[in-house]
């Protein structure tokens, strides 16, 4: 580490082919281009969007499971929103939030309460019941969640990272418990919400409740996920986004450089919570039932796993991470259980052949998420698609001189721990994480 001079590093990284070829996203070629070419910037967005927009047009005859696929993908888009929202808090501002589910549940209950839903009147409830307009409920859910984000953030601002994580975790636990035990919200019975009424469009009347055509809701979720992604993108490059990164890298230095810690952190919380609230309203309208048991701690961890898997702070990465994990859970795992049991684990007379016969493969998701979390942190802390800011550093374009690491949260050695930490920090920012094994080879 110490033998690498910054100058030498810069000269090596200047030829980007040498410095970036260590990555599977650069090594694996698809149609003559490396994977990274497809999954960065506008190309990734456009490719994903085109596929996403065209997918509902796939006819039943071509893929009989298309409607369940759309349902699964609607849920995937809701989780893309959640992951992008958490990414603002954890990836941009570096505040580890383990209770993100709280904002999700607040949004969901706003939707359910706003449509006067309860399980008790589920059967009698006509869909003509007057409710608040969906757009208003979306806004209300988001704003209420955002306010709670500030309420949670305000007293915890002075806390260090790991303490903050535990406090947010406590908040995430308390909120569902409160909903579970307040009679207004029908306790552990939960509530049902009324889905948005049909919309008259140039393409005809679009119903959000037709089980044979899930495309309207699918498109709505896609639209909102795209809006959140665009918002994330705009925020990242704004002055507030740079202030978040500054806080993430070094709070004390950021404060002495004139960043208002209180306002900047609170804004991160509020915006993250805002997005969580939108996702909650969408979820409640989509399912359309809300129950406290569906908003447990594991949801927070699932969203965190999505962010860590994709790459903290990386928009494309977080979207990819959310899509992989949620699709795995709501579609793949739900579908492999019966075939696996039928073909491998149960004899034709129904007797179990193997101890795995008793395993419900559709419930393996948390085990998989846990393993992924550990593997990613140990082997690839920068995520599947590292943040673009880090890429710029590797190319030596300016950012490296500022000593800004892309994923400081996970990669940069905390200043002041080691004796020589300050002296090494310049090398550290450029070559930590995945860079370290490359160092071994090069040096």
């Amino acid at each position: 580490m110490a033998t690498k001079s910054p100058l030498k590093v810069a000269s090596q990284t200047a030829s980007s082919a040498v410095s970036t070829a260590r990555d599977w996203t650069h090594e694996t070629m698809i149609a003559g281009r490396p994977v990274i070419w497809y999954v960065t910037g506008w190309r990734f967005a456009i490719i994903t969007l085109i596929v996403g927009v065209l997918l509902p047009l796939v006819p039943y005859s071509a893929y009989p499971d298309i409607q369940s696929l759309l349902v699964a993908l609607t849920s995937v888009f809701i989780y893309v929103m959640l992951a992008l929202g958490l990414n603002v808090v954890v990836g941009y501002a570096g505040l580890l939030d383990l209770g993100y589910v709280a904002f999700y549940v607040i949004g969901a209950y706003t939707m359910a309460s706003g449509t006067f839903g309860s399980l008790l009147n589920f059967n009698e409830k006509p869909f003509s019941i007057p409710t608040f307009p969906f757009a208003l409920l979306l806004l209300a859910g988001a704003l209420i969640a955002g306010i709670f984000g500030i309420l949670l953030g305000a007293p915890t601002l002075r806390l260090r990272g790991d303490y903050l994580a535990i406090v947010t975790l406590g908040f995430g636990e308390i909120v569902p418990i409160v909903f579970q035990h307040i009679p207004t919200f029908y306790g552990s019975l939960g509530m049902t919400s009324t889905p948005p009424p049909p919309v008259n469009t140039p393409f005809g009347l679009l119903s959000f409740t037709d089980p044979l055509n899930n495309a309207p809701f699918y498109y709505m979720a896609l639209l909102f996920a795209v809006l959140v992604a665009i918002g994330s993108f705009a925020l990242r490059n704004s002055s507030i986004g740079r202030a978040w990164v500054a806080i993430r890298e070094d709070e004390t230095a950021a404060e002495s450089s004139g960043v208002n810690l209180v306002r900047t952190k609170l804004l991160a919380y509020a915006l993250g919570a805002f997005v969580g609230g939108v996702a909650g309203v969408m979820q409640a309208a989509f399912v359309p039932s809300v129950n406290p048991v569906n908003f447990q701690f594991q949801i927070s961890i699932t969203i965190l796993a999505m962010v860590v898997l994709g790459g903290l702070g990386s928009i494309a990465g977080v979207i990819l991470g959310a899509m992989i994990l949620q699709f795995l859970y709501v579609y793949v795992l739900q579908r492999i259980n019966d075939p696996i049991h039928a073909s491998f684990l149960v004899a034709s007379n129904g007797a179990p052949l193997h101890f795995l016969s008793n395993v419900d493969f559709s419930s393996l998701n948390y085990l998989i998420f846990g393993i992924l979390l550990v593997i990613m942190i140990l082997l690839r802390p920068q995520g599947l698609i590292p943040d673009a800011r880090r890429k710029r550093e590797l190319k030596g374009e300016g950012a490296a001189q500022e000593g800004v690491s892309a994923i400081g949260l996970l990669e940069q050695e905390e200043a002041g721990i080691g004796i020589g930490a300050a002296a090494d920090s310049l090398d550290e920012t450029e070559y930590s994480g995945a860079g370290s094994d490359a160092q071994g080879r090069e040096g």
């Binding site: 790991d162 303490y163 406590g170 308390i174 418990i177 965190l304 998420f369 942190i377 949260l409 990669e411």
Partner: protein
Amino acid sequence: MLTLATVMTHAAISPLGFFFQQIEIGITRGAMYALIALGYTLVYGIIELINFAHGDICMWATIVTLAVVQTMGITAPPNPIALVGLLVLLLVIGMTVSATLNVTIERFFYKPLRKAPRLAPLIAAIGVSLILEEVAALWRGRSFVGFPSIFPDVGISIGSVRIALLDVVIVVVSLALMYALDYFIRHTRMGKAMRATAQDPEAAALMGVNINRTISTTFIIGGALAGAAGVFYNLYIQQVWYFTGFQLGLIAFTAAVLGGIGNIYGAVLGGFLIGLIESLAIAYVPNGFAFSDAIVFAILVLILVVRPSGLLGQQTPNKV
């Protein structure tokens, strides 16, 4: 005042007796929380990691000792001599399982991240916690499994307060373990190394302390104490559940923070206090059982906001 006293003497269970019964329950639970909190505080004191998987380490002691008891086919209390032997056996197995698990996890998942920023090992610990829970769920399923009543239901009554022998055993053995830990840390070479490492790992290394061995020992001790707590939990609550560790861990972490994380006396004090607060909250707060977790968390948030260093901890300035 006089009327109040009259009411107390005439009630079937006097309010005062009810109160002291809650205190008795609180102390017993507090002993278990203190044992787990010690593991949090030892690990945090030495490598500044919130060992998120610590509660699940304790859960694994409950699940393994349940398997042992089931394998031995014990469903009712044995005779007193056999009971003592059985308790010792369960404690040894539970403590060994937890200590081994804890030190193995440290070696493979936390040690490679020792130089990483502090949130990296925390996220790894969260992942490990999920893995431990889910593997336990694969083994024993996701519903509660009853632990047989192997401890005879005997005890003494003082007024209307009943003190079960089991509660006495739990508290006494817990206190003995805590005393042993205190002695170990204060009077042995390894204890001295642990204190030195907690103060300044690099300076300790320069003085010849084997940092890796010291950290491993810390994890072994913390795991063993959690294992003992797991065995007591089995005897006391008599329910084994894959998700027990999450709740136990959070309560114990709150206890460690309440006492001042990094301070072993603080962890013991915090453990007993949280036990008392919890049992009193369940008894006196309306719908207290449902809200007991929320109350514990609210306390945690309150301490961290008002006095992050805890009751016995020292205020540390932000390192630059």
